[in-house]
Symmetry: D2
C-alpha cells in the first residue's frame, strides 16, 4: 500500500483549497505541509485561509502551520497551485531540491521536457521526466503539469475521436464558470446578468495545449498534433463547470453514432490501473437533446468525467457536439491529483526518507 506525504504550494487560493478538499480520505496521499506567500507564512492554516468550500477544512490540515514558499517542506512531493506570477522559478526550485512538483500552474506547461499530462490521453508523455531530469540535473525532482481548465475536458473527448478518425481542425466556443478565475476573481457587477466574451490568455492556451497533449513522443521530443484550432472563450454566470460547443473536421467521414460509440467506449490508463481518482467512465454521452447542463452534470464522475451531448453532423465542418467538464475537478486540482496517482503508480514519485 502506497502512502505519500503531500505538500500544497499556494494553499490558500481557490485551487489550493480544492487540493486540500479533494485529498480528504485519499487512500494514498496525506497532506502534511502547506506553503503560501510571505503574508500567510508562520500562521495556522485555519486562521488565515478564507475557506470557500461548503464542507469545512479537514481538521488535521487546518491545524498545520503555513510555511513560506521555500523548498524545505516535510513531504514526498508537492502539488502546485501557485499563482503564475510566482510559480515559474518557485517550481524549478522545488524540483531542483528533489521534490516532484505536480503543478496546475501554466508556467511550464509548454516547456519541451515537461509533460503536459492527462492520464487518459497521453500517459506515455510521463517519459519526458527522464529528459527533464537529465537536462536540469534534477535527481528525484521534476515538474509535471496538467492543462488549462478549458483544455482539460476537451482533450479527453478529442482523444478517442482523433485516434479513431483523425481530427484535422476544430472550432470551440466556451462558456466558462466564474470559479475558473479564482477568488476574488470576477467582480459580481461583471458577472450578474452578463456574458463577457473574453478571458485573458485563455484562447491561446486552448489553441496550443491540445496540440501538445495529443502529440506524439519520438526520441524524447513531442511532435504536436497537426490540428488547427480556433477558440472563442466566454465567461458566463455559473459557479462551476465549463461548457464547450465544438465543431470538428475529420480525416475520415463518420456518422454521429460512430462518434458517440467511440466516446462511450473509451477507457484509458487510469481506468485500467484503477487509479483512486479515475472515473469509471471518463466520457459520458447523453442522448437527451438538452444535456449536458452545467449545474446538473458538472459533478459527473466526482467532477472527473466529461459529459458530451448533442453529437450531430455539422453543416460547415463535419461533426458538432457540446461537452461539459468541471473546471476545478477535471480542470484543476482533480487533474493534478490524477496525474500524481499515475506518476506514483509508474514509480516517478517515491517516498523520501
Amino acid at each position: 500500500m502506497k502512502t505519500f506525504r503531500v505538500g500544497v504550494l499556494g494553499a490558500t487560493g481557490t485551487v489550493g483549497q480544492q487540493f486540500i478538499h479533494r485529498l480528504r480520505n485519499h487512500p494514498w496521499f496525506r497532506v502534511t505541509a502547506l506553503a503560501a506567500s510571505e503574508r500567510s507564512a508562520g500562521k495556522r492554516y485555519s486562521e488565515i485561509v478564507r475557506w470557500r468550500i461548503a464542507q469545512g477544512i479537514p481538521e488535521d490540515v487546518g491545524a498545520l502551520t503555513v510555511q513560506p514558499l521555500e523548498a524545505d517542506l516535510d513531504c514526498d512531493f508537492c502539488f502546485s497551485a501557485m499563482d503564475s506570477s510566482v510559480a515559474g522559478p518557485a517550481e524549478v526550485e522545488f524540483a531542483r531540491a528533489g521534490y516532484p512538483v505536480i503543478s496546475n500552474s501554466s508556467n511550464h506547461r509548454m516547456d519541451a521536457d515537461v509533460p503536459l499530462l492527462v492520464p487518459e490521453v497521453n500517459p506515455e508523455h510521463c517519459a519526458l521526466v527522464a529528459n527533464q531530469r537529465k537536462n536540469h540535473n534534477y535527481t528525484s525532482g521534476f515538474i509535471a503539469t496538467n492543462p488549462n481548465c478549458s483544455a482539460a475536458g476537451l482533450v479527453v473527448a478529442l482523444k478517442p475521436i482523433h485516434e479513431a478518425f483523425g481530427i484535422e481542425a476544430l472550432n470551440v466556443v466556451t462558456m466558462q464558470a466564474l470559479s475558473g478565475a479564482g477568488y476574488p476573481g470576477v467582480a459580481s457587477l461583471d458577472s450578474t446578468d452578463n456574458v463577457i466574451p473574453y478571458i485573458g490568455g485563455e484562447e491561446e492556451k486552448l489553441e496550443s495545449e491540445p496540440r501538445k497533449i495529443l502529440g506524439r513522443l519520438n526520441d524524447g521530443a513531442i511532435s504536436p498534433a497537426e490540428i488547427r484550432i480556433s477558440a472563442q472563450c466566454h465567461r458566463v454566470p455559473v459557479i462551476d463547470g465549463h461548457m464547450e460547443a465544438v465543431s470538428l473536421k475529420l480525416h475520415n467521414k463518420v456518422s454521429p453514432a460512430d462518434i458517440s460509440a467511440v466516446l462511450r467506449e473509451f477507457r484509458g490508463e487510469p481506468q485500467r490501473l484503477k487509479l483512486p481518482s479515475a472515473p469509471a467512465q471518463p466520457i459520458e454521452v447523453r442522448a437527451e437533446p438538452d444535456r449536458p447542463q452545467t449545474r446538473l452534470d458538472r459533478d459527473a464522475g466526482n467532477g472527473m468525467a466529461v459529459v458530451v451531448g448533442r453529437v450531430r453532423p455539422c453543416h460547415v465542418l463535419d461533426i458538432r457536439m457540446v461537452l461539459l467538464s468541471h473546471n476545478l475537478g477535471r480542470g484543476a486540482a482533480g487533474a493534478a491529483i490524477l496525474n500524481a496517482e499515475l506518476l506514483a503508480e509508474a514509480g516517478y514519485i517515491t517516498a523520501r526518507k
Copy 2:
C-alpha cells in the same frame, strides 16, 4: 405627417408588451386596438395584463378593452405577437380582411411570397407583397415578418460583409437571453447557475432564415443565399441580449481591419430614410478586447444597433468575431416596428377609412 392607428395581436405576452412599450410617443403609430385570447377578451388591458416592464403601462393603452382575435379591429394595420400555436391561420384571416399584418411570429416567415424583412438588409423584398396579394386575393392586406431573435442581429452584421467579400459558410454559437423564451418561459431552477445547450427549433431557424433574408429577388421569387450555416444555441442566465460567437469563411480573403471598416461604415435604407426607429449607426464595432458585454451593450441604439467586437482571423475558417443584439429590440418588437415604418414609408401600409 403620417399617423396610423395600430392594433396589437397577442397583446398580453412578453412581445405584445414590448410593442406597447416601444410605441410610447411613436411619431407615426398610435395603439388603438388590442386583441388577445378568449380568456382576456372583453376586459380592460390594465386589469388582465401581467405587465413586466419597469416603466408602467401607457395610460391610454391600459384603458383599452381587449378584443378577441377576430379581424374586426379599429386600426389601420396590426402588429402580431401571437403565439405560433395560433398565429398561422389568424394572421391569414387578418390579411384577408384587409389588414397589413406586421408579424413577429415564425409561422409565415418561410412562405415563398411573405417578405422576411430586415430593413437594413433586404428592403427590396417588400416587393413580395404584390405577389402575395395576387396569390391570395388580398386587397390592402398582407403579411410581412421579421426574423427570429437570434437571426435578426446576425444578418445585419453579415449584410455588409457578404456584399463586400462574399460569405461561403459560417459557424455561429449563441448565448441567448431568458426573455427570448417569453413569460413564464424558462424556470428559474433551470436558469440559475446553469447553461442549457438547447433551444427548441432555434437552430433550424438560425440556419435557414439568414439564407432567405440575404437571398436575391428575381422575378418575384427569392433565391436563397448560398451560405452554409451551422448553429449551436445555448440559453444562459441573462435577462436580455443575445451574444453570438461567429466564424466566417469568405470568398475573398480580407483582413479583420477590412471587415471592421465595412461594418462600421454600413448604413441601410432606414438610415437613408431616417425612419423613426432606425439607429443612426446600425453596427457598432468595439475595439476593446472584452466588448460587447451583454448587460453593458444590449441597449446600444435603443436596442436596435448590433454591437460587434473581437474581429480577428480564424485558424479554421477565415474571420471570427462576437456580436450582440437585443432580442426584444432588434430581435422582436423593435424589428417589427422598423418593418412597419419601412412599409408605411414605401406606401404598403395606408390609413383605412
Copy 3:
C-alpha cells in the same frame, strides 16, 4: 433491524424526487411504490419524470411503474409529496386504508388531531395519532405532517430558547430559495436580478405553525404556545436554502452568549435515539460575522442542521440572529423522513403483511 417498504405519493414533483433521492441507501426504508397523477400513471418512472437532481435516478426506483393515487400500493407506509390541490382527501383515503401517511403537504397540518411534527422539538405530539385513529376509525393508518419549509428551521432554533428563557414575541424576515416553489415554480424573468417581497400563504403558515409545534399536549389536545409572530417573506435568487433574520422578545432577559450556549448544546430525541437522518448536532452556531451564508452552509448536517449566526442584542426586542436551513432537507423531504424514523422507532409505523 427494521426494514419498511415505502410508497411515495406525488413522486414526480420537486419534493417527490427529493424523497427518492434522500432514500438512496436508507438503512430502514426502501422505495417499492410510486404514485402520481393520472397523466403519469401506468408508465415507467424513469420515462416520465423530469428528474432535476444531479445524481441520477436510483436504478431500482426508475424501473418502477407509476401507480394512480389510489390506496392500493405495495408498501408499509407512504410519504406524501402531493400538491395541496389534491392532498387533502387523498391523504385521508390512504390513512383510512391503513397506511401511515407521512406528509409534507400543508392540508392537514393544522388539524387538531394531526401531529405537526419536528422530532427534535415536539416528539411527544406523536401521541395525537391515538386520538386521530379514534376520531376517524383508522386502524393502522394515520396522517403525520411536517411544517412549512420556512417554519421547519425556525422552530428547531426556537425550541431550546423557548424552553430555557421563554419567547414572548418574534419578528422574522425570510429570504427564501427558488426551489421552495417547486418546478417550474418561479419564472426566471421573475427571479433574475430581483427580490419578490411576497410568497402566497407563506406568512400565514410561518405565523401559525410554530405556535402549534411549540404548544403543549394536554389531555390529547394541543394548546398553542403563546408567542406573537410577525413574518415577512421574500423570494431571493438562490437555488436552495432559506435565510431568516429573527428578533426575539424573551420573558427572561439573557445575553447573546447564553442564547448561543443553549443553541449549541441542544440535542433532541432523534440525537438520543440516533435516528438515521438525525444530524449529530441539530443547531450549529457560527461565530464569524458573515455566516451562515446560503450557498456555503445550506448542506450542514446533510441539509438537516440549522445554522445560526450573528446572535446579538436587539435594540427593539431583546435578541436577534440569523438562521439558515435547507428547505428541501430540514424543510421538506428530509423532515418527513426524520418523522417517519421517529414514528417507526416509536412503533406507530409497522410492517404490513
Copy 4:
C-alpha cells in the same frame, strides 16, 4: 438661470461615474473638473476610467484631464465620491479652500455641525452650515452629506409617518444590491446563488443616521429623534436597488390605510421648489401584494422615488411594510445632486469668480 461649474472628487469609482452619468444634461450643473488618486492624475478621464454604465462617457467629460485630489480645481463646488479611507481630511481641505463639498462619503456625516441632508426630510438642517463655517473659519466652503444608501430611502418613508403619528421604534431588515459595495466590490463567487448576512459598518449607520436626520434643530444643534432602531443587513444577488422589510412601533395607533395615505400625499421642499432632480412624487405606494420588486421598481422617479408596498398591521410592533429605493440614485449620487440643488437654491452654493 443658475449655472455652476462642478468638480467630481473620486471620479473613477462607481459613485464617481454615477455623478458624471446623472449630470448629463443637468440644467444647472456642468462637470468641469475631475479629481482622483495619484495613480489616475494627469491622464485623460476616458483613458483611465473603467466605465461601467451602459450609456457611454459624456464626450466633454471624457476629454477632461484628471487632477490630483488637491483643492485647486476649476469649479464652483465639488461632489465627493472619495473612498472613506481618504475622504476625511481631503474634504476638510476643500472646504477650507472655499469649496462647498457635497459629499456621499460617510466620514463627516455624524459631525455635529455637518448637515446630513435629505431635502424632502430635513431641509432646515442646511442652517448647520453657518455653525460649521464659524467653527472652522470656513469662508464660502463647507461640507454637506447625504446618508448611507440603506438609510436614504428609509428616512424618506419614515418622515411623513413620524410627523403624523410618531415613531417609537423600528425593526428593519435589508436585502441590498451588489452595486452598493462599489467596484470590484463583492466577488461573483460570493454573490452567485448566495445571501450574505453581513455588510461591514452598515447596520451601525442604519441605526444612527436616521436619528440625526429626523432630529430637531435647536439653537444650532441637532437633538436626535428618540427612535430605537434595530437593523439587520444582507447582501443579495441583485445589481441595483435596496429592499427593506420594516416594522414600526408608533405613538399613535393607526391603520395601514392611514399610513398609506400620508405616504402617498407626502411632498417636501424639493417638490415645492421643483428642483431638477426631485421626483414628482417622492413616495409611491403600491397596492399589489407582490410589489415593489427590485428589478421592476428601482428606477421609479428616475431612481429618486421610494416605492412602498405591503403596508399591513404587525403582530409584534404596530405596522409593517416593505420599501425599495435605488442605492445609486436616492442612495448616493442622486441624493448628493438633490442636496446640491437645494443648497444652490437656498444660496449656500454660489458661483466663484
